[in-house]
Symmetry: C2
Subunit: 455 residues, 2 copies
Amino acid sequence: MRRLSRGGIDSRVTTELTELFEILRFASISTESKHSGEVRACAEWLSAKLRGMGLDTSLHETARHPVVLAKNRHVPGRRTVLIYGHYDVQPVDPLELWQSDPFAPVIRDGKIWARGATDNKGQLMAHVLGVAKTLREQGDLPVNLTFLFEGEEEIGSPNLGPFLATHRDELRCDVIAISDTGMVAPGVPTFGYGLRGIACCELIVRGPKGDLHSGIFGGAVANPLSALAKIVAGFHDPAGRVLVPGFYDDVIPLASWERDMWAKLPGVDDASYLALCGSPALFGEEGYSAAERTWARPTAEVNGLGGGYQGEGSKTVLPAEGFVKLSFRLVPDQDPQDIMAKVRRHIESQVLPGVTVEFVPGHDGKPYVTDPNSAFGLAAQRALRDAFQADPVLIREGGSIPIVQTFRDTLGADTLLLGLALADAQVHAPNENFPVENFEAGIRLNQSLLRELSL
Amino acid sequence: MRRLSRGGIDSRVTTELTELFEILRFASISTESKHSGEVRACAEWLSAKLRGMGLDTSLHETARHPVVLAKNRHVPGRRTVLIYGHYDVQPVDPLELWQSDPFAPVIRDGKIWARGATDNKGQLMAHVLGVAKTLREQGDLPVNLTFLFEGEEEIGSPNLGPFLATHRDELRCDVIAISDTGMVAPGVPTFGYGLRGIACCELIVRGPKGDLHSGIFGGAVANPLSALAKIVAGFHDPAGRVLVPGFYDDVIPLASWERDMWAKLPGVDDASYLALCGSPALFGEEGYSAAERTWARPTAEVNGLGGGYQGEGSKTVLPAEGFVKLSFRLVPDQDPQDIMAKVRRHIESQVLPGVTVEFVPGHDGKPYVTDPNSAFGLAAQRALRDAFQADPVLIREGGSIPIVQTFRDTLGADTLLLGLALADAQVHAPNENFPVENFEAGIRLNQSLLRELSL
């Protein structure tokens, strides 16, 4: 508790950290069926917390994990703000690489260490506790507020779109705010005006009806793992450009004002990216910086693959099958369904004789971009300046929050991305963490944001 | 016990099956350290069995798993025959695909089902029990016999070469016999005059220092799984020919008498291979039949690969590393060390910027070929005819028994390959099996063989 032992954190923050720790203890991993009880328990804890703050709170069933809604008393004539977050988290494997239990949060070196610390429970709770503080201090909020928290963001929000459609009136708002994106550097408030989209799929490559002896059959039968490797290798040219025919057809080129602006940002130069990832070198599409490659260029990525003997030593088997999990990050104006159809055609053109390929579509979401200098955009920038006492920078994001485009389509409102995640937060990886000072700043940011949006 | 309930098997065979079942119950998996106690227990059971038959038996420690030696009283002037076998077995995963416990042998449909039933405990015990029967019936054997049984065949016999070198005098012999190869079809006695060699390695491809979020970093960093797939895909041209430079330099072309002979064999036509493997189609080097591809052409095979997210659903991770396990089957006159050096150079030429590749060499063994019509070869063919009451056929083998070349180099003796394995025996795979009638024939074959070799 080194950070807490210093003088700068008052007892209220300690209480707020205690509440954050409570929600971090739920193993609310949405993709793994065995954890669905923990996902529900987390939703119920969150409902109770919001209800305890005096908000009109409801827990809504979906086909899988519940949605939590909470509102103050909405007064005609005030601005209506929807704050979205997600209480589900990514899986934790490989568990052995965590320095402490992912669901037993601890503070080390001024950071909170736990799965979900940054993505998204830490940022979600900063909004919740900012609202609690304003309510304590002023008895009311300056805006009509709706909290919308889901438990399926990490699996692509399959039930949130239908929920929005059936609760459209209840969710009507002027603007939406989300803290689930990145800051370019510690202490540099960061306003996001774009997101990459995503399209996921899994391939299962099958050859012989069962595992074969590689001596007895090797040479006469296609090896499903070789066939799988050929498909995966066929996605990129040697310089890292995606080879799927038509993949770049709808990509809007980077504007020169964006390239100029990004080139001056702290913390997102190529050397910083290289230091963060720890690879021997950066690698990617020619002619773009690392920030440009990740914020404004699409990708084809292998998230996992496997097949054949996985144990110690060797086993001379010619395996019956293998799998590969793929995701494609998309930029405006690529369409996920169109890209997935192109990917599928491309895969079919790469299949070796002697194997079959099963294509299993996964979740998807459209890319997003908005004008950072709209009235709401400027209000968000003022709130960021106020919370951090520093000028905000403007970026796009490499990650995907597909629901942002769905909000625009269904509710007719744009989204302000006020992220508090640092590049070394280890989201989706072992040792996820969130600086205590970002948690505190997030609470301040919520208070400033609701004030600025009310003007 | 359907097969046993019929009239054809006398009580002696039932006793012999009981003894085979005893050795099959040991989980003597040599590659997995956790099973080393079972490997040793199996060696000790075998020693006790041989000692009980009146043979001069000894168990020899090596750096890993013991060697078992057993001899009758060697009389000057008689032929000396060494019979080699191995009591270790392959791993059993994927365990869920076995119809019965791999180490709880059962008889179904006239076959013995267990890991090691064919490879090699069933064939080894046929020799042991053939000798026991001759000793019971005649009080002595017609030859000087040495049984040499090792526990490391499935991991490439790393300690048997040194053992042969230090026990050269004790192991001196005129000829060697092994039953650890295939029969072309049920009831067709098969004499093997060649084996493929092998060279194994594992590659570990590393990129970022830890798993990364594929949204935040994807596009700017090489994905180790894409780099791995590129290496694997780089081993073959689209028609399945190996692309490693110099790979085919030392390959002796198939002789026309071999091609003519093999084209007439039962059970090894392309349609039979296809039916056995159950793939959608055969696939391999142009211009060769399946038998030619597997018996006389070299391969590059992926035995296993893995990396990134392995669980249910999706996880949008850019993983830190991946692995691939490779083996190369070799034919005369390819040299495993030379091939491995060429493979390594080839891999190094295929490495993407932004990753490193660790090369972990595995076991290897030279390919082997001998004259099927030598005096000993003709004796072996007579023994096969006698045991099966049918004319033997002559083949080479796709599998590898590297020690055969080491026998020739160290002991100066050639090896007779008198295999009893059927193509659907599922060796190295789930549901390994061995027909009871092959076990019985193996016992007869041992008796005929020692008699024919004594003449």
